[in-house]
Symmetry: C2
């Protein structure tokens, strides 16, 4: 929505799976990217990895190469890489000491107004930014893997992160085509990995109990829920699964999930009555029951198109 | 794979959301479908609902109408609907007494060799088929909602279900384009709803704890995991998320999920060491580490195509 879209300089610190993917996100949107990795053997491979990421997401090999040539510089010192940066993406090893030491350096060598964003999967931001002079500009920007392919990104502030920094981070991510979500509290595992973790734990339990094979557990998701959830989220999905919407769905099937919650020694039901009421209200405000059937058709037509695309062999691109 | 693909007669008993969706699956594959519902007011709406399901999945309105006219008969008695059936799909209310009474009748009025399939979401098959004369031909065929759109289907036998009935059910479902999975044990909630339930419980907990809004919880899945899982299952996905594959992924991130398992008062870790070893072996046998990077490119290119499709407005069909 910004009128003068500014070209930014983004520094990528740590150029592994995630760093080279973030680099692709910014380069393809027309920004300048400066890359640093402390491992010299990694530096050599960056160009290839980044070019592959650009090609896989942009499609056009020529345009990818041109974007790479025009927009990316690989640096051999941290100072050089971050000197001009408006935003620094830290994507180094998932170790608190490594991040703490790095953020201390970043806080000193970057422009004081630069946003310092960490890709950490699960380390609370407070554990490695507390003592910094400009800690108000630090924020977690945790991507789905890999971010050049998957837009979902969680943005998690520390108690001392500036509201303006959070706002700017969210809007920059939107501008480059990501789908940022604000995680309002520093919750263990944030939100995304907790969702993934809940599913993975259940998959492992089912395999261990001899209920399904690992390949079949994957297949139940790939050929089922994933197609649906790519079109409507898991909550909206259950709202469409009974003619009376979420309210009827919970009345009919809630006890299946209540039993699961109980197995986990949870004292609460699957969903608290107050949250259930609130969600039913939200869903009915958005989609009156008389429009449910039309929404289902919309969902089904979109999923049918996804299936046709996925059924194509890679040779018939 | 069958050489003489036979035209079957399939009876749909209970013509609500699921029954009318099963009907579409069989009709569009060229089989004859006989429908019955005990509620007369439902009978009137069946044609429209079924036609919509055919159109949404087949795409072509003319062909859909022709398939409906040629293949579907709506009956006003159960006996007439099931008389010629090779397979009966029961999709009536999720109540054990209703299913028990119905299966007793079905066992009497159907051809003795007909497969009796229940769509039940969570009632163990043993609770409503035990006393039947021909209980060996009963099996649960539990679809993802709706089956005319989502192929994943779990097939759950009772202890007394014939192995041949299970085999035939699996292969018929394959033939009509579903993606059937054998659930080897009658586990509470089977497999599919347990996977969905695990995710939904976690979503509700995050919303209740004020970590994310409901809309954002849906978005994290829709714009992230779902796109990935439509291309590679959740287990295969984590195998691709570290350069050293699943083994390295678990070493790096396993503790995030171990902590989640512990919160649930589970005594076990997220994944047992023996299952982890077995899965690492399976994944490396299928995909040697040197091919991991190429597989990631394949994944990313496919997801990029899905995203382009989903980004199209409904008007640019
Ligand atoms: N792989 C995933 O699924 C995933 C998903 C989301 C977030 N993350 C997070 O992203 C971060 C990076 O993960 P990854 O998978 O890209 O790891 P990776 O091992 O592929 O890459 C890390 C890179 O950082 C470099 N590095 C280490 N210490 C450094 C330092 N002090 N200065 C500069 N470079 C340094 C390493 O040489 C390596 O190239 C981690 O915090 C991880 O938790 C990973
Ligand atoms: N909706 C879902 O998400 C879903 C998913 C998978 C499985 N299922 C299962 O499928 C079955 C049907 O669910 P639904 O969502 O289609 O419900 P629904 O209420 O939409 O349809 C049920 C239909 O069965 C009819 N019926 C009831 N008793 C009958 C009887 N004795 N004989 C004939 N018809 C009878 C009703 O009139 C109604 O039309 C249930 O067992 C349910 O657990 C539902």
């Amino acid at each position: 929505m910004q009128v003068n879209k500014q070209t930014l300089t983004v520094a990528i610190v740590g150029a592994g799976v995630i760093g080279c993917s973030w680099a692709a996100v910014w380069v393809r949107a027309g920004h300048r990217v400066a890359i640093f990795d402390s491992d010299i053997s990694v530096l050599e491979g960056i160009r290839d990895r980044l070019l592959r990421n650009l090609r896989d997401s942009v499609g056009d090999p020529q345009a990818s190469l041109a974007a790479l040539e025009a927009g990316v510089v690989i640096h051999s010192t941290l100072e050089d890489a971050v000197a001009a940066a408006d935003l620094v993406h830290e994507s180094v090893a998932e170790k608190v000491e490594v991040k703490r030491e790095l953020f201390e350096r970043l806080d000193r060598v970057s422009k004081p107004e630069a946003i310092l964003a960490s890709s950490t999967s699960a380390i609370p931001l407070s554990q490695f930014t507390e003592g910094l002079l400009n800690r108000h500009r630090c924020v977690i920007v945790h991507p789905a893997t890999p971010p050049h392919t998957l837009p979902a990104t969680e943005v998690v502030p520390a108690p001392w992160t500036d509201a303006a920094v959070v706002e700017r981070t969210l809007s920059l991510l939107e501008e480059v085509g990501q789908s940022p979500v604000l995680v309002k509290k520093d919750h263990p595992g944030f939100a995304m990995n907790r969702l993934q973790g809940a599913l993975l734990i259940e998959m492992f339990r089912l395999i261990e109990a001899g209920v399904v094979t690992a390949a079949d557990a994957d297949k139940l998701v790939t050929d089922g829920f994933a197609l649906r959830w790519a079109v409507v989220g898991p909550l909206q999905a259950i709202d469409l699964n009974a003619d009376g919407g979420l309210e009827e769905y919970l009345a009919r099937y809630g006890d299946i999930y209540d039993r699961m919650a109980m197995e986990r020694h949870e004292t609460e039901r699957f969903v608290s009555p107050s949250l259930a009421r609130e969600l039913v209200k939200q869903f009915r405000d958005q989609l009156p029951l008389e429009q449910l059937e039309a929404k289902r058709s919309w969902r089904d037509q979109r999923i049918a198109k996804l299936k046709r695309l996925l059924a194509k062999k890679d040779s018939d691109r």
